[in-house]
Symmetry: C2
Subunit: 205 residues, 2 copies
């Protein structure tokens, strides 16, 4: 299998951590790919996905799997199932919902980042930036206030959360999430004891 | 169960169609909700989801399920499983990947719409608008060129596609997708013969 990958993508990092934790990393070839809004990438759009987003998993028979959640679920199934995503019952829908919220928070941080750093300065709209950032920040607050996610055995929602926090460090280093959310800080420190989390940290901004 | 809902949301429409097709609509109360970027909605952010997005399914025991794909999968399971999402094998990953692509195409159309209609005109960036629109358009082209999705028994990817096309009609009525993609046009016409699809058409723009 091949995984389109960039060390700066929080979504690619999530799949890499999942693959390591599931013992599948040696079956996956990481293929460097570069995609960015407003930059054409005809080859990626044609061969991988018209959305031009990372990551995508390309199976040996050519089947392409997007998005990062689907890839995580596919790898989980390959590893026997029910490892990072509960196989059934309320726990399943809780993890899937939390994962979707954290995915949306990460999407919102990327939109804020694009607004501040990709868009020409004269077209910057503070209302949009603040709105997207607020979605991420309110999301972190939600998990600080519903902290059972922080102490469960490892699952896909936790992996997504550590990647979202790592992205906040990478692109919004002075946002102050550690001070605002001490329970998330302690969770992040604990997660950093895992090799999978440590080895996949984003580069220095 | 309650579903937060707006007749203009392509994601809420998708869940409504799925609920009708699965025979579950009479168990779901549609609850009108209004969310829009840059408009605060503290109650929704606190009680439903910090992402402030539609739809969300609120179970009778209070558990909230987001996003629209998770809700569709939950309803599918409630109806016995394997109805709109294949239960296993390559067909499952194909439908899930196609659904994720169409979800991303619809997200891209919403971003293009926000750029053109919500953002103050002086902050409009054509590069961003064109890039988001291109993701949707290239996606439609992909399905025109890989048309097996168009003739399968009903599934979640098809429902997502009809909602994406309906959203293109609703917000980009002169984009010309019918002329560019005749196979999608024929598919859309066939889908409109279903009551679920017809009754859920977006309002006139």
């Amino acid at each position: 299998m091949k995984l389109t990958f960039s060390p700066t993508s929080p979504f690619a990092r999530k799949v890499r951590i999942a693959a390591i934790e599931l013992g599948l990393l040696d079956r996956i070839e990481l293929v460097a790919a570069s995609v960015s809004p407003t930059q054409a990438n005809e080859a990626y759009a044609h061969d991988v996905s018209p959305l031009r987003k990372l990551p995508a998993l390309i199976l040996d028979d050519g089947l392409v799997i997007v998005d990062s959640y689907n890839i995580t679920e596919y790898l989980d199934e390959l590893a026997g199932g029910g490892k990072l995503i509960p196989a059934s019952g309320p726990a399943r829908w809780k993890v899937k919902t939390e994962h979707a919220m954290i995915q949306g928070m990460t999407d919102a941080m990327l939109l804020a980042r694009y607004e501040a750093a990709l868009r020409p300065k004269e077209f910057f709209w503070k209302g949009w930036y603040d709105d997207q950032w607020d979605r991420a920040w309110q999301g972190f607050a939600r998990f600080e206030n519903h902290p059972d996610i922080l102490t469960r055995p490892l699952d896909a929602a936790q992996i997504a959360l550590v990647c979202a926090l790592g992205y906040a460090d990478f692109r919004f280093s002075d946002c102050g999430w550690r001070k605002a959310f001490p329970k998330l800080d302690a969770f992040h420190e604990r997660m950093l004891q895992r090799d999978s989390v440590k080895v996949s940290l984003p580069p220095q901004a």
